[in-house]
Every structure is written in C-alpha cells, then in structure tokens.
C-alpha cells in the first residue's frame, strides 16, 4: 500500500491535541466540564436571557443538579471531511445546522411532472397547438403560479413572493431541437451540466420526453409535510395550463388534474408503511437509488469522492433527519451520522480499501460478485478498522459507541464491495454481514440494543424480490419492512459505489439525476460535506424563513 499522508491521523492529532495517538491512557475530569465547549457557553448565556424574558426556565446546562455533568472528558471538536472546517458537535445537530435542514427541504419540496400527457390532452382532446412558443409562455405562467400567483379566478389572495422566492419550475428534455428553441431560463441543460459522455447517455435515455421539475416553496413544507408537495405543484400546474392555453370546462380540467396529480407525477418518496405512516415525499419513502442520483458529486469528482458524498447525504437524510429527527424522536443522533463525514476517517479507510481492491482485483468492477468475494471484502474491512482501533486508541474513543463503529465499518465494507464488483446486491450483503455478525464475534459487542436485528432479518430477505421482502437494491429504502432502520448509509454508499464503478451516468432515474443538477437549488448537491460545513459555520444562506412577516419586514 502507498505511503501517502494519512489525513485521518493528522486530523486526530489536531482534534485531540496530541502527537501520541498510540497511548491508551489519558486524563479525565480536568477540562472544565461543559465550559470547554464554546457553543454550550453561548447557549447558557442566551438561555439566561430567554428565561428572563419569558419567565420560564430553559436550558439549564450550568446547573449541577440536572442530569449528567457534561465535559468530564475532553470534548474534541470535529473536522468536516474534505474541508478545513472545524466545528463542535452542536454545529452538526439537525436543529442547529441550516444546511442540513435545507438539504432535506430541497429534496422534499421537489416533484417532477411529465408534460407529455398534458400536451397530448391539449392537442388531441382540445385541439390546441403545442409549440416551443406556447411552452415558453406556459413556463412563464407556471413560474407565476408556483410561488403563489393567481391566474384564473379574481378576488383571490396571493402570496408574498419574498416568502416563496425559492419556488419555480424548469424543464428537462433530451430533445436537442426542442431544447434549443425553448427559453434558456427554463431549461436544465444536460449538455451544460454534465460531462460530455454522460450527457449523451442521459439525453438518449430521456429522449423527446418533457419533464417539469417543480420546486414548491420551502415554507410550504415547513407549514405542512411532504404530502403537500405534489398537491401544491399539481394545483398550480393545472392553473398555469388553464391560463396559458385558455382552457375551460370541467372534463378537460379533470384530465389535467389527473395528469398533474397522478398519471405522470414522480414523487421522490412513496407513502410509508402504516406503522411509520407519513405522506408522500417524506424521506422514509425515498428509495436508496434516488439518493445516489440526487448526489451530484460525480459531475465534479472521482468515483470514490462521489461515493463518500452520497454516504454523507444518505446518512444525514435518512438517519439524522428522518429516523433520528422525526421517527425516533428526540434531538437526533448526531454522532452516528457525523462519523461518516468527519475527521477524514471513512475517507482514509476507503482510500486504503480502494488500494486494496486495485491490489487484489486490479481495479473497479473487476471481480465477479460471489459470496466468497463478499465475505473476503467484509472481513478485510472489519479487520482493517479493528486494527486501526488497536493502533490508535483515540480513534476508538472517537467511535465511542457501537452504533458509530458499525455505521462506519458496514459502510466501508459495502462501498468496497460495490466498487470491486459493480454489483449493488453484493454491496448490501457485505454491509449486512458486518452489521449482523462480523464485528460482534470479534469484539463481543455490537451496535445499540437490538441494533443488528434488521440486518439479521435482511440477510435471508436480501435476494427476495417480493415487495414486502425486498426489492432490487436501488428501489429499497427505509420504507421496506425488513431493512434499514437507522442503517441507511451503507446501502446508499454500496449502491452508489456499484454504479460509480461502472461509470453509470445515473443510478435509478436520469430525470432525478438532472433535476438535482439545478444551479438554482439552495443546497449544492455537488458538495454535500462542504455545504454542511457552511451550515456548521453559520455561513449557509437558507430559504423558507418568515422574516418578511416580522415587524418591519418587507
């Protein structure tokens, strides 16, 4: 293996403020308790002001008689991997990080509507002409209606555009001629946004079909839930058609409503199963393959970086926001997901395994998937990390919980298997194998209580294609009963890796891939970790706020 600088080691030295990472002894109880955290100090000062102003106590960190005395050990900061951003755990907490919230918002508020059926109704049923000019006109109208403008009915209240300025609609098509004749403001230009070779394949796959990528305003999903998205988008789309093409009558409108709300609507997330019941477009219903497509790092980086960015996206979206935030309840599992994208740990381990693949198999997508290969890669991933824990006790301290360790190791095994075999099913097998068995028998300890249960169930289900057993990996998600409660990073990583290994321009849907290449999105999905880092530094400009409604707001 090469002797390149080990950035993980560098980061560990920096954050633990020590040159010796091999000593398994240290000192405790001398760091000033919670006061070693600048953020907690800020919170305490602010809490006192709030308590005084509202007359009810809030956040009593400075009280000794409430809960655990925090800060008895060194409260090490975190580097966001691939950046120079150093932050505290508080900065990666869901409520404290605007970029993380916007990452979820930008996905949740997206719905894609196929326009071909609507155009067919216009032409064949209503005898209207559909030309590039009429489409341009329609796009102007829909960019008026989508943020809350009224078209058909008089005496209606409208929405202050300052509150919905992140709402708009754009068009995706693979038809070059049509694209050239449409107003460029409304086009997601595949040729401009993707490398030439990938653009060609995406254009070919989408062909002459026309899709409208629709963003409802962030504030809409902050008022309601994901279920509002396709309804809002459809309503405003239908109204835009009515106005742009001067349509009246009941039956045609019903046809449009059907087309816009159901027939050609791509919601990103399906309704979740009853015990976790949530509306469409909530994260629990989004298949893993879409996350790989939503991540745009493949447009600007090498395959391994793309995989790592997708792991950060999947981990934060599914485990921090979805499971930790509003399924599990509580304030969210920051540490487990942060371990996937901080201190260069997964990056460095992945680089090692990347070299291991090249050494053992010759490169990506170069070994036929088999159980022997899955076992060999999973085993090497586990042994490598356990040996790093042995060599660097601070790394084990950094991974202080089994859930953290299993998250990292299973993801490492999954992405390595995906890269080596180009097979997403094999990548999932490796992740489950690590989670269910391999670490447990080495350390005599595993994840959190019962944490591996889903993996034990998933192994026998893994090759099933019964809808309530499993699906092809790309279509699975946390919505599948037997898989993935808070174990969602490794399947996303493995699936992304399997396709990245083969150089595929998309994973599950070329349209979703293009939809998130949009430069007008608030969150830049090319650089997931960089965006989270901006949020940690409080430098991320988010949308969906209500500042315009405050006294003095505009």
């Amino acid at each position: 293996m090469s002797k390149k600088e080990n950035i993980m080691i560098k980061r560990l030295k920096e954050i633990f403020n020590t040159e010796d990472l091999t000593d398994k002894h240290t000192s405790f109880y001398q760091f000033g308790g919670w006061k070693q955290s600048k953020r907690k100090q800020e919170f305490v000062i602010r809490a006192k002001q709030i308590a005084e102003s509202r007359g009810i106590p809030i956040y009593l960190r400075d009280r000794d008689d409430i809960g655990v005395p925090l800060g008895q050990r060194f409260y090490e900061p975190l580097y966001i991997s691939s950046t120079e951003t150093l932050c505290e755990r508080e900065d990666l907490q869901l409520v404290n990080n605007a970029a993380i919230q916007q990452m979820g918002d930008d996905i949740k508020r997206t719905v894609i509507i196929g326009l071909d059926l609507a155009h067919k109704i216009l032409k064949e049923r209503l005898g209207k002409e559909v030309t590039p000019e009429t489409i341009n006109h329609y796009m102007e109208v829909v960019n008026h209606t989508m943020p809350g403008g009224v078209v058909a009915q008089e005496h209606m209240a409208e929405v202050n555009p300052e509150l919905t300025k992140d709402s708009y609609a754009k068009i995706v098509t693979g038809n070059q001629e049509l694209k050239d004749s449409l107003d460029s403001r409304f086009i997601l230009d595949i040729d401009q946004l993707f490398p030439e070779e990938k653009a060609e394949e995406i254009n070919d796959e989408i062909g002459s079909r026309i899709f409208q990528v629709t963003r409802v305003p962030t504030i809409a999903i902050r008022i309601a839930d994901g279920g509002i998205v396709h309804r809002w988008a459809s309503q405003q789309t239908v109204l835009a058609f009515i106005a742009a093409y001067s349509i009246g009558g009941g039956a045609p409108l019903s046809d449009f409503a059907f087309a816009g709300k159901h027939a050609q609507v791509i919601v990103l997330g399906n309704t979740t199963w009853p015990r976790r019941a949530r509306a469409p477009n909530e994260f629990g219903g989004i298949p893993f393959g879409y996350i790989s497509d939503i991540c745009q790092a493949d447009r600007v980086s090498d395959p391994l970086t793309y995989v790592l960015e997708s792991v950060a996206l999947g981990g934060v979206l599914y485990d921090l926001i979805w499971w930790g935030g509003y399924m599990g309840g509580g304030v969210g599992p920051v540490n487990g997901t942060a371990s996937l994208y901080t201190n260069e740990v997964l990056d460095e381990l992945s680089r090692y395994m990347d070299e291991w693949i090249h050494h053992n198999y010759g490169g990506y997508n170069s070994v036929k998937p088999s159980l022997e290969v899955v076992k060999k890669i999973a085993q090497e991933s586990v042994c490598r990390v356990l040996e790093e824990y042995d060599n660097y006790p601070v790394l084990l301290e950094e991974h202080w919980g089994g859930g953290i360790r299993l998250n990292v190791i299973s993801t490492l095994a999954s992405i390595t298997t995906g890269l080596a075999t180009g097979n997403s099913l094999a990548s999932l097998m490796a992740g489950h194998y690590v989670y269910a068995h391999l670490v447990k028998e080495a350390m005599g300890r595993n994840a959190w209580g019962g944490g591996e249960a889903v993996d034990l169930v998933s192994i026998p289900d893994i090759v099933s294609t019964f809808p309530d057993g499993a699906l092809i990996p790309e279509l699975r998600g946390p919505n599948i009963f037997s898989t993935m409660v808070a174990h969602s990073a490794f399947p996303v990583g493995g699936i992304t890796a399997s396709h990245a290994a083969k150089g595929h321009p998309w994973v599950l849907s070329p349209v979703v891939k293009v939809a998130f290449s949009d430069p007008n999105l608030v969150f830049d999905f090319r650089y997931v970790r960089r965006e989270i880092a901006k949020g940690a530094k409080r430098e991320f400009n988010f949308t969906g706020d209500r500042n315009a409604l405050r006294p003095g707001g505009e």
């Binding site: 000593d23 398994k24 002894h25 240290t26 000192s27 405790f28 109880y29 655990v68 005395p69 925090l70 008895q72 050990r73 159980l371 076992k375 085993q379 586990v382 042994c383 356990l386 040996e387 824990y389 042995d390 060599n391 006790p393 601070v394 084990l396 301290e397 991974h399 202080w400 919980g401 089994g402 859930g403 360790r405 097998m429 194998y433 269910a436 068995h437 391999l438 447990k440 028998e441 080495a442 350390m443 005599g444 300890r445 595993n446 994840a447 959190w448 209580g449 019962g450 944490g451 034990l456 192994i459 026998p460 289900d461 893994i462 090759v463 099933s464």
Partner: protein, 250 residues
C-alpha cells in the same frame, strides 16, 4: 458443553464462559448488605417489593407452564422485577456485553436482558437478581477497574483508560485508593453512606491472559480462521435459507 468455534485461547475462554456448569473463580467477597447498597433497589434489612402474592397463596388455575418450569425463588415469592447493568471496557473487561447476554441465557433462570455496545442490562425478580449479581461481582467475571456497575450514564467502554488504568465514568462512581477500587456511589450514581471496596484491580497481564476479546494484545481477528469460517457459514445459510428454504445447501 458448548464449544465456541476455534482452538485459540480466546475461543477456549469463550467456551469456558458459556459452560452453564462452569465454577468461576471467586476473587472477592461482597457482603449482602454492600451488594444491596450498590444495586440501590432497597434498603438493607428491608423486605423485597412484591408485585403479586406468593405463588403458593395464589389460586392458580391449571397452569401448564408451572408443570414445565419450576419457578425461581423470586417468582415464587412474587418479587418485583429489578435490574442490574454493567459497563465493560474494550480493554479486556473479563466479560463483555454480547457474552454477558449469552452467559446469562445459559446460566440464569428467569432473566431478561438487553445487549448494547458498551453495557448489558439484566432484569430479574429481586432476590434472583441479587443472587446472580453476587456471582457476577465476586468472581473472575468482574474486574473493578474494567467492568463497572452503571444504571445510568453508562459511557466509558471505548474510552482510553485513566492514569490508574480505570475505565472512564462521567459520574465518578468509584476511585482507586490504597490499591483498591472504592465505590462512593451506587449504580444509579446516588452517593452511598459509606464507601464500598470491590478489591484491587486485576493486573494487566492477567486481564490479557483471560481476555475474551480478539485484539492486538491477544489474537488478531484475522487469524481466527475457524471462527471466521463458522461466521461465514451462518451468513451463507441465512441467505440461502431465505432465498430458497426448500434447497439444502452445504
């Protein structure tokens, strides 16, 4: 007797731990009163909380379970269910969560347990729990520096050790004084009226000699070939069984 896969010393030690008839070496004496104080569920000398009358006093209708299983003393008396929780250091605590769970399952009657990564929770009828905890504390299954009683704020299992080789405890339930570990607080971190000694820490070489953890100082996991083969087989058979349970796979 169960044989854990492999012939290395870790595997042998694991087999020994999982033998329900094993007679574990007694290393320390914990008076009953101290045990009760450490658990913190009742005052020494007080009776057990009951959740139902003794089984002999209950007008139990024909109960097939009673014919199959003798009730434990705690169940017989109608004791409330109480808990004990141990945290085990990655640095060669004599027993670790997954093996606690397996050991409890083959050795103790009437228990329920949850296995976490650093800690293991056991629930049982109060007098049964005290009996089991006594064995867990007094024998080679416990080292006062690397295992700990922790009902709350359990973290520390993966931390580096302090200058004295003790596992970190944010609640500082214990300290090393005059060569012995003294508990100043019970498992719920409530201060005790008197310090309770659990004896001296086990020397490092003995901990490593008796370790059940695959690690650099013991045996590298990648060298545990028989174990890895065995685990691989479990994985394979689960997978094939789910894919097609009708087909026999070797």
């Amino acid at each position: 007797m169960l044989k854990y896969p492999g012939n290395d010393k870790i595997a042998k030690r694991r087999s020994y731990m999982l033998n329900p008839d094993a007679k574990f070496k007694k290393l320390r004496e914990i008076p009953d009163e101290d045990l009760i104080l450490l658990l913190g569920h009742r005052e020494p000398g007080s009776g057990y909380r009951a959740i139902h009358p003794p089984l002999d006093d209950l007008m139990v209708q024909d109960d097939p379970i009673l014919k199959l299983v003798d009730p434990t003393p705690g169940a017989q008396h109608g004791d409330a269910i109480e808990f004990v929780q141990f945290t085990d250091s990655v640095y060669h605590s004599p027993l670790v969560p997954v093996f606690r769970s397996r050991l409890y399952s083959v050795r103790y009657k009437g228990v329920d347990h949850v296995t976490y990564s650093g800690r293991q929770l056991m629930e049982a009828r109060a007098r049964d729990l005290e009996k089991y905890t006594k064995e867990l504390l007094e024998t080679e299954l416990f080292d006062p520096a690397r295992s700990a009683l922790r009902g709350i704020t359990v973290h520390g299992s993966s931390m580096r050790l302090d200058e004295n080789g003790l596992m970190f405890d944010a609640r500082r339930r214990y300290l090393l004084k005059d060569g012995e570990i003294w508990y100043l607080k019970n498992q719920m971190a409530i201060p005790l009226d008197k310090p309770i000694s659990l004896g001296p820490p086990t020397p490092e070489n003995i901990l490593i000699e008796n370790s059940i953890i695959y690690k650099k100082e013991t045996i590298r996991y990648r060298d545990a070939k028989e174990l890895l083969d065995h685990v691989g087989k479990i994985f394979e058979r689960s997978l094939y069984g789910g894919f097609n349970p009708e087909v026999k796979h070797e």
